[in-house]
């Protein structure tokens, strides 16, 4: 196996993992505040179509990325209004949001079907990007890849090392206590949900602007659900989420390579492998029930109203 080949695999793994990491980080923060938003898939799709539309209208990929984040936020705001203000059931509303996002993005995307678009340009760092092997693996990506990687320590630091992060977690653990201390529980949950929406929108933008630069209906093809699963897989820890997303990407890419090399394993098994790996790790982690309980936000998915 030549070093070039390994470099190529690593680049492919990075691109496969980035949308999962972006959406997963957003959902992680949302869930840490006690809100379970199952609408990741829908928000990704709305972000993907919005980002594509904006990028093709303005010719600027970065504008597309910005619009995608805003639209992801707008979709999340709808969810937040329904669940936090009108106190509807979070699970049902999240599922509805996914269905809504699939439909809305298809409708908005009609004029963009079959339209080509320039790929989001890689951030070329003079000198570094041209290095052999290391260049393409470390320095040959677009802005969203670096953003996703930078967001991991940023989110971890925010949640564990800052006062607002502590308050956000307390809202997720015990909204009653946080409320009694005078923290605006609903406002904090709104903010966390909007952050999740923005990150899902970015994940969508990565799909329609960088991964496969086009708009195609339902192009997220279940990645929103994988991101949701990865959050549990990571036991709500950003570092582990990074690990999970890249592990998933690695297995996905390696199974394609295994087939190309003519490995005599049925392709259906290889296609299942990334999911099996996720389930296996999930089972291993879940054996330690205390650890799960320590990390899972205690009030996740529960409706909170200050007056009750």
């Amino acid at each position: 196996m030549s070093p070039d080949f390994i470099a190529a695999v690593l680049v492919a793994v990075t691109t496969a993992a980035t949308p999962l990491l972006l959406a997963g980080l957003g959902e992680l923060v949302t869930e840490k505040a006690g809100v379970l938003n199952l609408g990741v898939e829908g928000m990704m799709l709305v972000g993907a179509v919005g980002g594509f539309a904006a990028a093709s209208a303005t010719g600027s990929g970065l504008t597309g990325v910005g619009v995608a984040a805003l639209l992801g936020m707008a979709t999340a705001a709808l969810f937040a209004f329904l669940t936090l203000t009108l106190l509807s059931n979070q699970v049902a509303t999240g599922l509805a949001l996914t269905i809504f996002g699939v439909g809305l993005s298809s409708l908005l995307g009609k004029p963009y079907i079959g339209m080509p678009l320039d790929r989001l340009p890689p951030l070329n760092i003079p000198g570094l990007s041209d290095l052999p092997l290391v260049g393409p693996v470390l320095f040959g990506h677009d802005a969203l890849v670096y953003l996703s990687l930078a967001a991991v320590p940023a989110v971890a630091w925010f949640l564990m090392r800052t006062r607002p992060g502590l308050i956000l977690r307390s809202v997720g653990e015990s909204p009653e206590a946080a409320h009694a201390l005078g923290h605006p529980v609903i406002a904090i949950r709104y903010a966390a949900t909007l952050f999740g929406g923005a990150m899902s929108g970015l994940a969508g933008a990565y799909l329609s602007l960088a991964y496969t630069p086009m708009w195609a209906e339902n192009m997220s093809a279940g990645r929103g659900w994988i991101a949701l699963a990865l959050v549990v897989f990571a036991t709500w820890k950003p570092g582990r989420l990074l690990l999970g997303a890249y592990l998933f990407g690695l297995v996905l890419i390696l199974q394609l390579h295994a087939q190309g090399l003519g490995l005599a394993v049925p392709s259906q098994w290889l296609s299942m492998l990334p999911y099996l790996a996720t389930i296996a790790v999930l089972v291993l982690i879940s054996r330690d029930a205390t650890r799960i309980r320590l990390n899972a936000p205690a009030s996740i998915g529960k409706v909170f109203h200050p007056d009750t």
Binding site: F5, V9, M214, A216, L252, I253, A264, S267, Q268
Partner: protein, 359 residues
């Protein structure tokens, strides 16, 4: 959007049908379609919808067409087909293999309605089947790829290991190796018809393993984009995908249902419709090759066009022996042709395809 509206009017239609008077002879013929995917897949369902639009263009106000997209194969399909039949449609196209049994069931209950099922094999007095010989296009693609490849390694993205797809791989490989005897085909199955990200990743993996021409039997143009980015060749699927990779796109195998759909609608309108089994090819204009990339040398284009002409004339069959299986054993002797029955159930690779066929 129209699809969503259709569903609603269909529900109303199902109720209304109980009270509706029998359709008068001079009423426009109502033609219904169900699609397995979104029209926006820019592949399979998109091309069927082009066929529907062709009926409207050809027959004008003598017909009214409607469609329901994103219909799941299975029980849901039976409900939707029943609603179409109930709401006065005289001709119904069900455009995916998985609609076969539901279509047959509904056809039995509505003997006066004409049904057309794509790619299936179960027929009735009021149920025809139709499909296209896409393998003829794969043959042409194989000839072109044989001339264009430098590495002699071709990457092939497969959807599901069903006879339709295996037949395409084999037809392609036979033609490829008639030009370049040492060439091999690497197949990656993605187990989906449609997942742009996964199709793109499969293309990346194949290119990393040395493939310099990418074929696909999946529906999105992602692989074409990857080929363009990586500077290798690719062949499009179902529709002309040139705009996704102007430099990479050698040609594409384009599905064309227009003339068949118009002919069948006309036949129902004038009462000459009979149940048939149509498996049309280049000759019947049910598929065509997209324009050849200007980068292909003129003599190669000439050879490809000659092969098209020979297939149309009936003097060339892509599955003419000698044909060896993967182990190198001759399974079809020189001069013999694999018959349609064996083509329809093909479940083995020819020599030159790498890997084992998942069963």
């Amino acid at each position: 959007m129209i699809g969503a509206i259709m569903r609603r009017t269909l529900l109303a239609g199902a109720v209304a049908a109980f009270f509706a008077a029998p359709a008068l002879a001079d009423d426009p013929l109502k033609v219904g379609f169900i699609y397995v995917g979104p029209i926006g897949d820019h592949g399979w369902s998109y091309q069927h919808n082009e066929g529907r639009l062709a009926i409207e263009a050809a027959l004008g106000d003598k017909v009214k067409t409607s469609y329901v997209e994103n219909v799941a194969e299975g029980a849901d399909a039976e409900r939707v087909i029943t609603q179409l039949a109930n709401s006065g449609h005289g001709l119904i196209f069900t455009t995916s293999f998985g609609f076969m049994n539901p279509t047959l069931k509904v056809a039995k209950r509505f003997p006066k309605v004409h049904f057309e099922h794509a790619t299936g094999y179960k027929r009735a007095d009021n149920l025809s089947t139709y499909a296209a010989r896409f393998y003829e296009g794969r043959h042409i693609a194989g000839l072109v790829a044989g001339h264009m490849t430098k590495s002699g390694t071709i990457g092939y993205i497969g959807s599901f290991p069903i006879p339709e797809v295996v037949r395409g791989i084999n037809a392609f490989t036979l033609a490829l190796r008639s030009v370049r005897p040492d060439a091999t085909v690497k197949v990656v199955w993605v187990n989906t018809w449609y997942d742009p990200g996964k199709e793109g990743a499969a293309a990346e993996a194949l290119i990393d393993q040395g493939a310099d021409v990418i074929l696909q039997h999946t529906d999105s143009p992602a692989a074409i984009q990857v080929a363009e980015k990586r500077g290798v060749w690719a062949v499009g699927q179902a529709s002309d995908m040139t705009r996704f990779g102007p430099k990479a796109h050698l040609t594409a195998i384009v599905d064309i249902w227009d003339s068949y759909y118009v002919a069948r609608a006309k036949a129902v309108a004038d009462g000459s419709w009979t149940s048939e089994d149509t498996w049309g090819g280049l000759k019947d204009k049910m598929l065509a090759m997209a324009p050849y990339n200007p980068a292909i040398p003129a003599d190669v284009v000439a050879q490809a066009k000659q092969a098209e002409a020979d297939i149309i004339a009936g003097t060339l069959h892509p599955f003419t022996g000698p044909i060896n299986d993967q182990s190198g054993k001759e399974v079809i002797p020189a001069g013999q042709v694999i018959d349609d029955g064996k083509l329809l159930s093909m479940d083995w690779y020819v020599e030159g395809v790498q890997g084992t066929l998942p069963k």
